[in-house]
């Protein structure tokens, strides 16, 4: 299947999955859908925990699930690297993070594995997969991801770096500098933009004078593709192509996944302040869960029993994870003094 920026995203429909591209199978698709169901259930729970005053802040992945699960399917967690953004709940689950591990982040519990609860959820580094996010400063991960990939190129390793970002991040100077360097030096990175048309409340029309972010790839001499991010198969195929290109030494690509942000920016936001009723209406039709479910049923991959089983299993897993995470204490105070520098005593100092 050929996807390019001149072709409108909507022309890539779920039917593109009629013959599975290399690497996709009925089982993998079913597994992907199971992860999406788990992500959605966990996402809903996290929002509830925030409303209960237990989780300080959350950014939801609802609407991005198909795009993220496709991204993980198109990569190799045993050797690839992931610089995530902050909305990658589904990707993290697909990469083997447990619901309890995720909830420990949102509840800032002792033993939280990414940052010892020093950082917001989804920030820090993962103990099992080479996944990390150093900061909340939008755009900084883009040059960093180029450096990560440059190191692999220098060392002759066949790892590919996935650099997650959003449409808002594309406006940062760092985005330009990162893609320009990647283009010059042919580094094995995939710039993966989950374009949900909003940077908090700022719509695309106020973010850029062009229709697509992928169209900017030509300014950096790299391929750019725009894909319907609610279409798990089309997304997989586009990302796989970019990952294969990077792995085979042909350098960077820009993949733009068009998705919808189904909830407000974060639990602190209220999108009715800036989104019209129609806009919200329209967006709800692009929920990747029913879209994926329908596609799988059309192809006879999913039946009622399995669907119900997935959803029930997800509910149970989320309940158990909530109990497990809530049972944990907050990190002890003295741990905050640990490890500013390697040479640190780790004891309290005032300068």
């Amino acid at each position: 299947m050929e996807i390019n920026v001149n072709e409108s995203t909507r022309r890539i429909t779920a039917e593109s999955g009629l013959s599975w591209p290399a690497g996709l199978s009925r089982d993998r698709l079913l597994e992907a859908y199971r992860t999406m169901c788990l992500s959605r259930a966990l996402d809903v729970r996290i929002w509830t925990l925030n409303r209960q005053g237990k989780a300080a802040i959350a950014a939801s992945a609802q609407g991005h699930e198909a795009a993220q699960v496709a991204t993980v399917m198109a990569t190799d967690p045993t050797r690839d690297r992931y610089l995530i953004y902050y909305r990658q709940l589904t990707a993290m689950l697909a990469l083997g993070t447990t619901p309890t591990e995720m909830l420990m982040q949102f509840l800032a519990r002792d033993g939280e594995m990414l940052s010892a609860a020093r950082q917001f959820p989804l920030h820090g580094s993962h103990p099992r997969v080479d996944l990390f996010s150093f900061s909340n400063v939008v755009g900084t991960q883009l040059p960093q991801s180029v450096g990560v990939a440059l190191a692999d190129k220098m060392k002759g390793r066949d790892a590919v770096t996935i650099s997650f970002f959003g449409d808002g991040a594309a406006s940062q100077g760092d985005c330009h500098e990162a893609m320009n360097f990647a283009g010059i030096h042919n580094v094995p990175v995939v710039f993966l933009c989950e374009n949900n048309r909003y940077a908090i409340s700022v719509p695309l029309s106020q973010q850029m004078p062009v229709e697509s972010i992928a169209s900017r790839a030509s300014a950096y001499g790299i391929p750019g593709v725009e894909v319907d991010g609610t279409d798990i198969v089309a997304s997989y195929e586009a990302i796989k192509e970019a990952v294969d290109r990077a792995r085979s030494g042909d350098g960077a690509s820009l993949v733009e996944l068009r998705v919808e942000r189904l909830l407000p920016h974060t639990t602190d936001d209220d999108h009715t302040r800036y989104r019209s009723a129609e806009d919200i209406e329209k967006m709800l039709e692009l929920d990747p869960l029913p879209i994926t479910e329908a596609m799988l049923r059309r192809h006879g991959i999913l039946d009622d029993a399995t669907d119900a089983e997935f959803k029930e299993a997800a509910r149970r897993a989320v309940d158990d994870a909530t109990d497990a995470a809530e049972a944990m204490p907050f990190p002890p105070v003295q741990d905050m003094y640990r490890g500013v520098l390697e040479s640190d005593s780790g004891v309290k100092s005032n300068g």
């Binding site: 300080a56 802040i57 800032a108 939280e112 940052s115 010892a116 609860a117 020093r118 950082q119 917001f120 920030h123 900061s135 909340n136 400063v137 939008v138 755009g139 808002g168 991040a169 406006s171 940062q172 100077g173 760092d174 940077a199 908090i200 409340s201 700022v202 106020q206 973010q207 850029m208 602190d268 936001d269 302040r273 800036y274 907050f330 990190p331 002890p332 105070v333 741990d335 905050m336 003094y337 500013v340 309290k348 100092s349 005032n350 300068g351």
Partner: protein, 328 residues
Amino acid sequence: MAEMTLIEAVRETLREEMRRDSDIFMMGEDIGPRGGVFLASEGFVEEFGEDRIINTPLAESSIIGIALGAAVNGMRPVAEIQFADFVWPAINQLVGEAARVRYGTDGGKTAPMTVRIPYGGGVRGGLYHSQSVEVIFAHTPGLQVVAPATPYDARGLLRSAIRSNDPTVFLEHKKTYRLVRGDAPDEEYTEPIGKADVKRAGTDVSIITYGLMLHHSLQAAESVAQSDGIETEIVDLRTLRPLDAETILESVSRTGRAMIVQEDTGAVSVSSEVSAIIAQDGFFDLDAPVMRVTPPEIPPMPFSPLQEAEFVPSPERIADAIRRLAEV
């Protein structure tokens, strides 16, 4: 004389100034229909329109650089950096460029611009929504740096900042936005940039502070007054550049004991400068070492609640320090 929160003081003053002077416009992320993430411009785009309330792309360097360009060409931009933690990409345009425009053109061009920066912690912001960023601005010749801690000062100083013909960094402590209420006149009053204010009179110890720490210090002062009869004088700096050395030294000359309380980490900070001013020009008035109460030298500030609470100097910690200093 109306009672209002600090965020209300900021919003009303912005609104009044926007109505008064059509050269004033605002730029920033989400300041349009969203009204800003802290609602400092709630309802503004409806009243002033999209030309004067510009929802910018997510690009801080251009927010300041474009504001600077407009400022040197006759406008009075008020730029909002959504969180202080995100001002770093714009430091070059602010510290490198705006601060040097008047001097570097020998007055040929000037930059009458205000950069509003919500800063500070204690709000479960973690490492990237809690930072204090005043050091680099307070160090830079050509900038004015204002950090009000009360609605009254916020109103008077924001007016002065917007009307000033020099670039002014206006620091708003996020935790004070809704926590701190106070009376602020409806009149068009201004407070002078560069003048500290004695917020509590005392005879035994001088505390020099600003921002949220003013309120923690006031609580501490009350408790030690009751428990130990120690009378603490509290100097609210309000402006971090230029510093009001006169008011600082005057207070220390009467108490003989100086303590600086600050939320930002201590090494090479505003607290260092205040201490150095006293150690050079107030030395012979001193009966005791110049004490500093600051957080530990770790990146501000942990997300987990117990650690965050420990990081920020608490009224209790300040009260203990007052007692220790009074005994020296």
